[in-house]
């Protein structure tokens, strides 16, 4: 049902095998976990797996939205071959990987800093925590408009502030110059998502037993050493959880980038998702777009699996304390 069920050691000791007996329907009695997982599986199959199968099929057709009959034309791997040789696609692919890497790492570091600041606060914790989550209340589409206007070179808040403070007398073309546009998009993305990291890492800091820190201090560790060798290893699993959640949900950035630059100008900020979105609906070339989408899904899966393994390793590392 899923791409490839990962193998796991079968456990003989438990009588409750995830087990459906097909050749004897009369005595069929689903095991407890089957029953418990069934609703989840049904919903996910209906909403994710079936549509995914449909889009997988259409990626082998020249399907155009405005020509429904093309849905039934089979062209094999042509869409995929086109993509493999399309330089623009691979540039966008690379840029997406770069954006993910930069944004996720920045979000983690900033989230860590923010969480530590909030954790130390002796008063107003409740308010601070709520404020910390403030950006999560903003719909990504709104974030797009917001940062597009803020980074407007002529009348935007950012340039206005820089000019008022005398830091520059130029109109910095934030959304135009390739590197700056990448920065602007990263800022929008980081702003909207750092909260997720902060709240999870804060959870980690609050759960941390105080003894190891005391012990470290007694042993004469500097605050930096305490942080580096005691606190950090402890909160890393939380950071990886946040990473995993975020890498599950990165396509969220699509709404932001779509409004801010839509991949432009001259393709300088093109990401996989903007490319897929434009090919799919504006150009109406759904078949090709779905083939592209599979690359993007693959990318998400790689990121997610990678962080899952990191998470497992980090959990093991602190296993003793737990």
């Amino acid at each position: 049902m899923f791409a490839r069920p990962l193998s796991a050691p079968a456990d003989q000791s438990s009588g409750m095998l995830f087990f459906i007996c097909l050749d004897d329907m009369k005595n069929w009695k689903p095991s407890a976990p089957t029953l418990l997982l069934l609703p989840a599986i049904i919903v996910l199959a209906a909403v994710v797996i079936v549509p995914l199968a449909l889009s997988l099929y259409s990626s082998f057709t020249p399907f155009r939205l405005t020509k429904p009959e093309t849905f039934y034309v089979f062209i094999g791997f042509r869409n995929y071959l086109n993509i493999l040789t399309d330089r623009d696609f691979w540039v966008a692919f690379g840029r997406t990987v770069l954006l993910l890497t930069v944004a996720l790492n920045l979000e983690m570091m900033l989230g860590l800093g923010l969480a530590m600041l909030v954790e130390k606060a002796t008063r107003g914790q409740r308010l601070l925590r709520t404020l910390m989550m403030f950006p999560m209340m903003f719909s990504p589409i709104l974030v797009g408009f917001q940062f597009k206007f803020m980074f407007n070179d002529n009348i935007g808040l950012v340039n206005n502030a820089l000019q008022s403070l005398g830091l520059t007398d130029q109109a910095i073309p934030w959304l135009i110059e390739g590197h700056l546009a990448f920065i602007a998009i990263t800022v929008a993305e980081v702003w909207s998502s750092t909260s997720v990291f902060a709240i999870l890492i804060l959870a980690g800091l609050l759960a941390m037993p105080k003894e190891p820190i005391e012990a470290a201090r007694v042993d004469g560790c500097t605050p930096w050493q305490t942080f580096r060798y005691v606190t950090l290893p402890f909160v890393m699993p939380f950071a990886y959880i946040a990473m995993t959640i975020r890498s599950l949900d990165v396509a969220r950035a699509y709404d932001i980038v779509k409004i801010m630059t839509d991949g432009g100008p001259a393709g300088r900020t093109e990401l996989l998702w903007t490319l897929v979105g434009r090919t799919a609906y504006s150009d109406a070339r759904m078949g090709l777009a779905n083939a592209m989408a599979y690359f993007s899904i693959l990318l998400s899966i790689l990121f997610t699996v990678y962080f899952f393994r990191k998470l497992a390793a980090a959990r093991n590392q602190i296993g003793a304390e737990w």
């Binding site: 791409a3 990962l6 193998s7 796991a8 456990d11 409750m16 995830f18 407890a32 976990p33 418990l36 997982l37 609703p39 989840a40 919903v43 996910l44 209906a46 909403v47 994710v48 549509p51 449909l54 889009s55 259409s58 939205l65 923010l114 600041l117 130390k120 606060a121 601070l128 925590r129 709520t130 404020l131 403030f134 209340m137 903003f138 719909s139 589409i141 709104l142 408009f145 940062f147 009348i155 935007g156 808040l157 206005n160 008022s164 702003w191 709240i199 999870l200 759960a207 939380f238 959880i241 599950l248 396509a251 709404d255 998702w273 799919a280 779905n290 998400s300 997610t304 699996v305 737990w322």
Partner: protein, 288 residues
């Protein structure tokens, strides 16, 4: 004495530095958002002005008044959107929690073949970007006639939220000692009673945190909603934001005002449950 004073001074300085740091961090976090809130109260001429107008000369509720006025007077069907958003977000959050609880319990308490594979598989369903799902979903929904209904969107959002909910709640149940439920069963409870009376109450914070994440996801989701909703029957607030754009013009102030209307309930809810939220995440996600 001198050493003491120096130490005290250093401590005070550190405290001051800390508060300044905290203040700056919060400022950075809040400023872009506050800009939106402020924009909703200012005349457009001051929002994007050059030279900038830093201190508002004039604040008014005009944008809010207009929002609730009739169509043609700058109004949009905000009440309908709000109702749709609430119904869809709350229902799908509740259902996702129930299904997630069942699933999480299965992973936490039972052993079965291919368990970790199933777990990762469930998680990976979340990696599919909305843009890849939107058209096939539309096809299917159009066939069975649930386009532009609450049900359609609720179904999608439940699916969107199940993976993370299962994950969080799984971790949480693992942390509740097995012995507790077993002891209750020895005392004469059925398995079912033991679950509701012993294990479920302990999972409260986990459920609260899963709930708030799920709610915020539904509340702000745009890509799928814009494809699967069409009219006031089911359009949600994020889709309604685009009512303020025309082909060549945009009413940015109006959009900001609607954004504020969207943010207030979300923020209030977060404020209420945030205590459980942090606790829930702690035990839920990691200790598993």
């Amino acid at each position: 004495m001198n050493e003491n004073a120096a130490a005290r001074l250093k401590k005070t300085l550190l405290r001051v530095a800390y508060w300044i740091g905290l203040f700056l961090a919060m400022l950075l976090i809040c400023l872009p958002g506050l800009w939106i809130v402020l924009s909703s109260f200012r005349p457009t001429v001051e929002i994007m002005a050059k030279p900038p107008v830093w201190i508002p000369n004039e604040l008014s509720f005009d944008a809010y008044v207009a929002m609730f006025s009739g169509i043609g007077k700058g109004g949009i069907p905000v009440i309908d959107y709000f109702r749709n958003s609430i119904i869809i977000s709350v229902t799908s959050t509740v259902i996702a929690i129930v299904i997630g609880m069942a699933g999480g319990y299965a992973f936490a308490r039972f052993r079965f073949r291919g368990k970790s594979g199933w777990f990762l598989g469930l998680m990976l369903t979340r990696t599919i970007p909305g843009i890849a799902l939107s058209l096939p979903l539309f096809f299917i929904f159009a066939r069975i006639g649930i386009i532009d209904t609450h049900f359609g969107l609720i179904l999608v959002y439940v699916a969107l939220n199940i993976p993370f909910t299962i994950w969080l709640i799984d971790g949480f149940f693992r942390q509740v000692p097995r012995d507790l439920a077993e002891a209750a069963q020895i005392d004469g409870c059925t398995r079912w009673q033991a679950f509701w009376q012993v294990e479920f109450p302990l999972a409260g914070p986990g459920i609260a945190s899963a709930g708030i994440f799920a709610f915020l996801t539904c509340w702000n989701e745009f890509a799928l909603a814009s494809q699967l909703t069409r009219s006031v029957n089911s359009k949600t607030l994020p889709v309604g934001l685009l009512d303020y754009t025309a082909e060549f013009t945009i009413d940015w102030r109006g959009m900001c005002a609607l954004a504020v209307v969207m943010i207030i309930p979300a923020l209030t809810l977060t404020f209420i449950v945030q205590k459980h939220l942090v606790g829930g995440l702690t035990s839920g996600a990691v200790k598993g």
